[in-house]
Subunit: 340 residues, 3 copies
């Protein structure tokens, strides 16, 4: 789709300097823009680019005064960055405007479907499942029996949600996510075989949660694995049975949290971190990438390493670790000198 | 569904103390139970909870004698823990009682389907595939040509099993698992491009194997990648081409095993471990979390670290690693003292 | 299917020594071959196996002269290894000869479908998507609106490709891959909640790229996440938003690349490596397994460790790291000796 400078200026309450009828069909960065796209200039560091940019339209602040000729059409607004951000949101909403129920979806008769939902082709919705109003379920997704999907929640294609799991409102679940698979619980038997421990709990996802592609969240053995309001999980994260993740905690890609560990609120966990099981991690904790967490962690800690230590300690040691061979030579020499 | 105290006591051969007709619809832990649920008391450490629990029914041992009034209805049995475990299994079986073939499944005519199977909506079953009796295949699963799914094996939704792979009896495969994708084999060419090495083997999964959500198991270049009887793989595990995993070995989440490595039986491999290719790992080996295994490992080893060393060595070093900056200061001081 | 020695000799231009009409239905290694299979002998180290192999047919070099009786039928060719490799390819092509459009696929009317494609059951193809000629799309795959799949590209079952992503020619995408999920971008708000940054870019996959099972590639915030010609990604790899991977770079399983990092061409990245965001990694770089890359890396570097250092340094330190407790004892002793 295409928008004219006039339409965009209208949306943003801006003033046009240039061609009213020039059109754009995409958004770009000012430093590598192509013709037919819209860019913005907010940071003065980037000002030089406005004289050479190929963008057809550039959003600028009201107080911007060019030194030289500019080929792009300008739209002047109070705050170019905010105006650009709101355009992005309008564009995003435009692109996710799916609605209606495909006749190629398979929906059990006992399921309850709210108003103005989107349910794509090849979706399966189980017995007594509840899909609340304005939820969007993309094609090839599996929604098990008695699952609830809250209002305005979007489930992208190819997601699998096992029976009895509950998802809140305004969540986004990306493709390939698995919610509610069995926890990894096996009781060793005398003959070195293992017997499965039944996993009869569920997963509860609260509101405003985002879950990245191919992330897995196991159901609780008993009770609920719980992902609280505002949590953001990146791709390929592993959340084991009976884990709890506190409000607004953010976890980057490929991190794993073992069974029954509780992580507090407002934590920032980097990528490829591992948490042992049955731990209590406080609030506002920051953990660096690839760390291994093996013990309880108090509030406000900043940690790194395997096993984790305070970040400053880790940094000091990591900085001189490669001097170890040299240190060994020195020690051996000193020993000889003293012995002789 | 709801069960009365009378029904449960009947199932377990227990004696009721309290209301015969009180009903429960879920199972919980005694310390955080809600009304309408059943809990159990076996460990004396938890005895205090029985006087305050909100559980409607509590299973207790025959010899349990309360000190104070208890509001919950009690069911007395010989062994409360075992009775609870058998209830869990009954509940689990009740919940996985799916049967029948959906008319929205797509099954090639040459496929052979056994008796009493469950095949859900949007399942695809390829040419000459064999689904043995009482197997369960949940919706949106792909079963390639000439695949065999053994008796009583359950394949959860959205699983992908490539052609020619063989799965045994009583296995459980969770959602999003990929079995039989091509091994990562490419021959470098003189122009720094790579040419794919055809991957014409398959994957053989023996009996009583459980495979966690979104785990990937590549087919062999030639021959079979083999997962032996009783193996348990957690979520997001990577098994490369021509790997063999021995009987009853357990591998936790996000661990990766590179091509042609053989792991023995009864091993316990923690999470986020990496194995290099072409290794022989013995039987009864234990490897700690986030370790890197780069060499052959004899039977009964207990190892940790990157690269792995005996656990005790690793522990000793890890315990003092953060003293390294201090050690360096001391060495430099000693050096000066001796030189002067 | 079965092939006779005569058919195979005809294909390869070889000469038969033994039974013309003996048949094989599979391929194996000479050292563990079963009856009814074909093996090859090229490396003289394996010569002893030819006298005991159970393979029905063995490809050998023209100049091979047996010392003893051989029960297998031989086919003599100029280069047994090359002849075997070309047989593998013929076999692979035979097995992937799917063609035609399933009437159980759901294809939007505005999609353009080329000639001689394969589109399996339960595939969804969105509005204005383009599937070029001879592409193969296996069952249960999701192709979003305005996606292009290039000529001769194969998409295995259960793959999810979000709207607006572009895939080139002769690519192979394995099951469970997610292409085009939202980048992990959230702007912190004053109340410790996060606001999603719209992710309106796409993913561009060039030609001859192979992507392993359950790998995830996020779309760019603005612009494109780009995987260049000839790149090979293994299973469970994470590629974040706005990343670029250069030509013919190979990345092994479970490695993660954070947002906006650019990796050069002809690099070899081992498994379970983590890259921080916004880095520039040069060409011909090699990174060892489980490394953590936190800074820009010049061309031709060979690195290992967390954080990465030149491989030789890492190796020297890793070799003596377990001597640290002993070193500490020595230092403490020396200190006492000097003080007294």
């Amino acid at each position: 789709m295409e928008f004219s400078a006039e339409q965009i200026a209208g949306l943003l309450g801006g003033i046009i300097e240039g061609q009213k009828d020039i059109k754009v069909n995409n958004i770009s960065k000012i430093e590598d823009a192509q013709e037919g796209t819209l860019a913005f200039l907010a940071n003065p560091k980037y000002t030089s680019y406005i004289y050479s940019t190929k963008a057809s339209i550039v959003l600028v602040n009201n107080d911007f005064k060019p030194d030289k000729t500019i080929s792009a059409t300008l739209i002047k607004v109070e705050d170019a960055y905010k105006a650009f951000a709101s355009l992005l949101e309008i564009y995003q909403q435009y692109k996710s405007n799916k609605i209606g129920i495909s006749d190629k979806a398979v929906i059990e008769k006992t399921a309850q479907i709210g108003e103005d939902v989107y349910i794509g082709a090849n979706v399966y919705i189980g017995e007594n499942a509840i899909i609340e109003k304005e939820a969007k379920i993309y094609p090839n997704t599996y929604i098990g029996d008695r699952v609830t999907i809250g209002e305005h929640t979007t489930i992208y294609s190819g997601t699998n949600i096992y029976s009895d799991c509950l998802l809140g409102k305004y969540c986004t679940v990306h493709s390939g996510v698995v919610i509610g698979s069995d926890g990894f619980g096996f009781a060793p038997q005398t003959d070195s075989e293992f017997k499965k421990v039944p996993q009869i709990g569920n997963v509860v996802i609260e509101n405003n949660v985002e879950i990245g592609a191919n992330t897995t969240i196991d159901r609780a053995t008993i009770g609920s694995t719980r992902i609280k309001n505002g949590v953001k999980l990146d791709n390929l994260v592993q959340i084991a049975h009976n884990v709890e993740i506190g409000e607004n905690t953010v976890i980057a890609s490929q991190t794993g949290v073992s069974g029954s560990t509780k992580i507090g609120k407002n934590c920032m966990i980097a990528g490829q971190v591992g948490f042992a099981g049955h731990l209590n991690i406080g609030n506002n904790v920051k953990i660096g990438a690839q760390s291994g967490v093996h013990k309880n962690i108090p509030d406000n800690s900043i940690l790194q390493g395997t096993p984790v230590v305070p970040y400053r300690e880790w940094y000091k040691t990591a900085s001189i670790l490669m001097k170890l061979p040299e240190m060994k030579v020195t020690i051996d020499k000193l020993k000889k000198q003293i012995e002789s």
